[in-house]
Structure formats: structure tokens, C-alpha cells
Symmetry: C2
Subunit: 403 residues, 2 copies
């Protein structure tokens, strides 16, 4: 069960961006599994992709098409990741882009393909081709909720969020949808997120701001440390509002909205983490630089021993210290390290805090949302990692997955 | 239940090395929990310790005493790790060494302390002090099996092994014991291993050979990637056989026996891994150097998605590829990567092998022992990591641990 996560019942339209979904029968029966998005003729599109060397065919093709310039259309399918499919998979991804281009009167390279689902199965290109004319005819601006539903795989909760931002140049909307319930399933693969805005913004600036937002959100979450072959985060700016992001103040306002929207969507993925019963922020401060703060945060957030203790609501601070200790921080003075959990001081000066009691620790660890604050006391840099606990259900979901 | 692991029913004595155990009541009732070892007046002792910055008090004191030269005695307790105990813990470790030295007519720095058990609790120094005279009086050479039992914590199977080696200079014995059933419990902490031999060997050479053996055994196993605050591997050479390790050939013969003994003991820890139902070797070859082979082996061996698939006997090769892909190998040509599991070719040229069938994969993954052989096809270096699967019981054991 997801941790304090409610599906949106409505998502605002974004002027200039139209969407359509349908049941193409790629793998599922009786549900939408194909999504087409038209970002408009003047769209600026930015994207971040998985760093996994075994990236899927659609990731390779989407990167190529983005580099070719003038992307406008996104074609997303659920049920098949088109990963581990070799050259035939790349050809299949290209074929779907060509087919979409033909139907939408666009060159193939104006279409960016995205896939999520099982690995190693050939993509049913014919199902997609047959669905495309109907999809193209059905494009509308108020289909964000349906779009969020069409890209779900093992998600238990539909994920979407929006922001309305009043800038000096005018008011703009950002609406985003995401899917993913583990970081990650290479089977039912992937974290995908698509954000639309009607702001007018230079593509290079959008890429820069998306990189910043992604680094502090989607790249800062982890369920189990695994990385998908298909992960992608895309932001489309239609420009339809006529509100141009030019001044430093408007840029900051837009960036803040994008950051917070990305973080809300990324948090939703963790809250819907496989088998998650707790939502946990590992907040490291007092580091010499962001890199070492990140190493400590990641080591704690990924420790199976910490995560099983969190599941058990067990204030097992020795496991947190042991994880900090193996993060590879040079010349760490353990006598200076402090840890608080939801405000309860647990470790000070590298050992059990003088006023700490097992009862106060148990109370703090019993909460469904935990802030584990770690002070390395050697600098001013910090990093926050978002994660969840490790439960029986994690093993059940991932062991029973394909059966 | 441990994977194909039988407790030894007998372990050979090592001339010159005497042991004694007793129930000191440190934490457990009705079982031995304290072990004293006398390596003899001419002993050479080598040791490897945890790399965790939060190392326990006994690790700090043992390192100091080793550096002081002339170590002879080992004092090991189960039930309390004396970790996360600050300066009081260091003082407690020193006090037990001083007490042992007094009873054994030795300086405190001739005693090396080791502890395993719960973190953050004060060590019951008085229990140890009271037990020491009896222990010292009870030293005998045929107590290796009792010693292996006294150091167990959550181990389900007692761990010990031995080698008899015929060298040109004469015949020598190596007998070893180990404890640990996760890599690791920072609660009931720790991997500990103690090896005795009657060979006569220079301490510096023994340290070098133990470093080599430990790197390919205890440092090559992982259950969950966590690293204890108390891990230690010790080799004591009494010299009592009079067989001196001098020639290159004898050195090689001794090293080979030490390597194989360490590997058997280390494998036993994985086979007794928390909740383990499979014993898995991740054998990476074709790497440019050992470092990158190790990174790939570790990433695969630690991936929760791979480990839960192993538990399910699910030939989910996409998860193995995804783990290889995120190991951070520069310019990895995924089109050249091959994977076989117990001889069944699963991946070739970066995709599903042409002759692979789901049935053949299921048969291979159903075995209790799995060799996952990964060929990176870009060099001649390799590395093997030993691990186990991730089961419901792992979560149960680690979540229920302190309750």
C-alpha cells in the first residue's frame, strides 16, 4: 500500500498540448496502453534518460530524434519495454515513429518513442500502427488523467500533479504525470515522467532547468538501487501562453515550480515503492561537498539492514552508523557525527545521545514518514535522498513478478 | 536454512595453539560465549579488520596491540559487540585485555580483543574478568570445535574447516573457525574468522599471504552489502611444527592452502546467509582490469532485483543485464556481453541467446547452487563474488531481529 499517496482526480490542461490514449492490445486487455502527445508546432522539448549502458531501443531512438532537432510528438506504450531486443528492437522503435509521423504528417524524427513493460519481448508494432489513426484523431487537451492511467504498469496509484505560476511576464501552467513503483522494474520497467507547460522557453534553457530539477528529484529517489533500461523524464513547453521565460526573476520562478513539481512526482514514485510502508528522507548535512553528502545519503538509503529496520519500526541506530561508516568518506571523524530522526536526537558525538531512550526512538520510528537527519559536522554541503523501507511485500512482488 | 552446509564434527588440533571456552553470561544463558586462544610464545599473528569508519572498540584496541608487537593471546566474546560505545567501550576492551594479561602472566598488549553481538550496550567486563582464571586454566589443544560454537551468534550452522599440507620442509596443519550469517548484522554483529597453523613463518609474510587470501574470500562475499563494525580475520602461526615457510615452492603451497581454507570458511558464511536458499557465484571475465570486473560482479551480486529473482528461481536475465549496465563501466559495448548460468547460454551479443529457451533457463535457475558467468569481452581480467539470494526470511530475520 502506498504511503500517504492519493491519486489526483483532475489535472489542468496545458494550452497548446494535446493528448490521446487507447487500448492497443500490446500486452494488457481492457485498458489503455498507448499514449500520443502533441506538444505543438513551436514546442521546446528537454529530456533526461537512464544512465544504464543497457538502455532500451526507444531510449536510443529518442536520443537520436532529439538531437535531430524539431521534436514535437511523444509516443508512449505500456506493457513492453522494447529492451534487450537488439537491432530488431531499434528497428521496431523506428517503425512506430515512422508510422506516427505518417499519420500526423510529420517526419519520423519529430516523434520521440518511450516504452515500459517486459524486457526481451518483441514489440507488437502492428498493434501500434493500427491504433495510430484513431489516436491522432482523438487528440484533446483535457486527457492528462487518462494519459497518467495509460502509462501505469505495476503502479498501485495513478500519479500526476500540477502548478500554476504567476510570473512577471504572465501566468503559466505546468502539468505532469509519472509512472513507476520501484526504482525500478527491469521487467515491467521503468520510471517515466512527462511534464507539459505553456510557457515559451528556449530549449537549451529548458534542458538546463530540467537537469537541475531531475537531479534533485528523480535522480534523488531510490527504492532498491536498481536503474531501469528505459527511465526518462521529459518536459515539453508549447509556448502557447505567449509568456516567455526571459528575466532572471521569471526564470527563477519557473525553475522553482519545475523543481517542486518534479519532486512531488518523484516522491509519489517512492511512496508507491514496491511494498513500501514508510516514506523516508535521508537528509545529510555538514559535509565537505555535495558528493560526499550524496555518498552517505545513498549508502544509508540503500542499506538493506537499515531498510528492514525501518519496516520493523525498530530504532536500530547501530545500522545507520554502520552504513555511514562504510560510505567511504575520507578521514571521517566519527566522534563528531550526529543523527536525529523526526526530531529525536539519537546519536551525538558518534555514540548514543545522552538523553536518548529506547522509548523515544521507538516513537519516532513508528511514524509512516521519517526524516533521518545526519550531521557529518565537517563542512556546509548537504544532500537529500528519498527512499522507502524494505518489506516482505518487496520480496513477494519481485519474486512473484513474472509468474 | 543454510545451502548445502554441514557443520564439521571434528577439527584437527594445531600443535602450539591452545583454546578454552566458557559460559561467562555476557548475554546468553546456558551456552559458551567467551573464548581464549593462546597462540604460543613464538607466534606470528596477522590480521585483517573491517574497513568501516565506525569500527568497534575492540577493533581499535586489537589494531593498537598488534602494532605494539608480540601478540600471543586472543580474547573473543559473543553477545555484545562493544561497538557504538565511545570512550567507555575502548576502556572496557582495554580492561579485558589487562585482566587476561594478568591471569596469563602477559602484558595487556599481548592480548587482542574481539567482540560480536549487540551494538550500543556496555560490555559486561566483570563477567569476563570472573571467567578468565578458569579459562586460562582450561586451555587445551583439542577445543577448536567448542571454540567455533562459542563465537556463534545468529549462525544456524557451526563453521570450521582444516587443511593438512605436505611441503618440502615438512607437513603442517591449518585449522580455522568462523562465524557470521549475514554480511553482516551490526546488531549481532560481524564476520569473525580465526585460523591457526603450526607453520613457522615470518609475521610480515603471513600478513601478505593473509591479505591475498582474505581479498579473494572474506572480502569477496556479500549477503546484503552491509559491512560490520567488528569484522576481523586472524591467522596465528605457532611455529610448533618447526616447518619453516622459506622457499618459494613452500610459500606457494602454504598460500594455496590458506587461500582455499579462507574460501571454504567464507563460502560457509554465505551458505548460512540470512534466509539464503541459493548459493551464487558471480564470475566476471573478459574485463580490462580486476577493478571493473569487481564492480560488475558486486553490482550484480548486490542487486535486490537479481537476488529476489534468484529466490524465485526466475530466469530473469533482463535484471542481470540491467545490473551490468549500471555498474559504471566506461564505454562498455553491450553488443558483446555474454551471460551463461550453470552452463546454459542465456545472453549472447548483448541480447537473448539464439538457442535460449525459457525452459532451459528455468531448469538452470532452479538449482540450489548457481554460477552466473558474465563475459564482458573486452579484456583478460576477472573477479568472482560469492553471494546468496534475497528471501522473505531475510526480511523477517532483519526486521524481527531485536524484538
Amino acid at each position: 500500500m502506498a504511503v500517504a499517496l492519493l491519486a489526483p482526480t483532475w489535472l489542468p490542461s496545458v494550452p497548446g498540448i494535446r493528448l490521446a490514449t487507447c487500448a492497443a492490445g500490446i500486452r494488457y486487455r481492457d485498458r489503455d496502453d498507448l499514449l500520443l502527445i502533441d506538444a505543438g508546432p513551436e514546442a521546446a522539448i528537454a529530456a533526461l534518460f537512464t544512465a544504464n549502458a543497457f538502455c532500451a531501443a526507444p531510449v536510443r531512438v529518442a536520443r537520436e530524434h532529439l538531437a535531430a532537432g524539431a521534436p514535437r510528438w511523444l509516443l508512449i506504450n505500456a506493457g513492453n519495454a522494447n529492451a534487450g531486443t537488439g537491432q530488431a528492437g531499434v528497428a521496431a522503435a523506428r517503425a512506430t515513429c515512422a508510422a506516427a509521423g505518417e499519420v500526423c504528417a510529420a517526419p519520423a524524427h519529430a516523434v520521440l518513442p518511450f516504452s515500459t513493460g517486459v524486457i526481451g519481448e518483441p514489440l507488437a508494432v502492428d498493434c501500434i500502427e493500427q491504433a495510430l489513426p484513431g489516436l491522432c484523431a482523438g487528440l484533446r487537451d483535457d486527457a492528462w488523467l487518462a494519459a497518467a492511467r495509460a502509462i501505469m504498469t505495476t503502479d498501485t496509484v495513478l500519479k500526476g500533479a500540477a502548478r500554476t505560476v504567476r510570473l512577471a511576464a504572465g501566468t503559466i501552467t505546468l502539468t505532469g504525470i509519472a509512472k513507476g513503483s520501484g526504482m525500478i522494474h527491469p521487467d515491467m520497467a521503468t520510471m517515466l515522467a512527462f511534464i507539459g507547460t505553456d510557457a515559451r522557453i528556449d530549449a537549451a534553457l529548458l534542458q538546463e532547468l530540467l537537469g537541475h530539477a531531475g537531479d534533485r528529484s528523480f535522480n534523488a529517489i531510490t527504492v532498491d538501487g536498481d536503474t531501469s533500461t528505459n527511465d526518462a523524464l521529459v518536459c515539453m513547453a508549447s509556448g502557447a501562453s505567449g509568456v516567455e521565460i526571459k528575466t532572471a526573476a521569471d526564470r527563477d520562478g519557473f525553475a522553482a515550480a519545475l523543481d517542486s513539481l518534479c519532486l512531488e512526482l518523484a516522491e509519489a514514485i517512492v511512496r508507491d515503492g514496491e511494498g513500501a510502508t514508510k516514506f523516508v528522507r535521508v537528509i545529510v548535512g555538514g559535509a565537505r561537498d555535495r558528493g560526499e553528502a550524496r555518498r552517505v545519503a545513498e549508502t544509508v538509503a540503500l542499506s538493506p539492514l537499515v531498510k528492514t529496520a525501518l519496516f520493523a519500526s525498530d530504532p536500530n541506530w547501530g545500522r545507520i552508523l554502520a552504513a555511514i561508516g562504510r560510505a567511504g568518506i575520507e578521514a571521517l571523524e566519527i566522534e563528531r557525527v550526529g543523527v536525529t530522526v523526526n526530531g529525536v536526537e539519537i546519536v551525538s558525538a558518534g555514540g548514543r545521545a545522552p538523553n536518548y531512550t529506547e522509548a523515544s526512538g521507538q516513537k519516532a520510528f513508528a511514524e509512516a514518514e521519517l526524516d533521518i537527519v545526519i550531521d557529518l559536522a565537517r563542512g556546509a554541503a548537504g544532500y537529500t535522498k528519498y527512499t522507502c523501507d524494505f518489506s516482505y511485500d518487496y520480496v513477494r512482488i519481485n519474486a512473484d513478478y513474472r509468474s
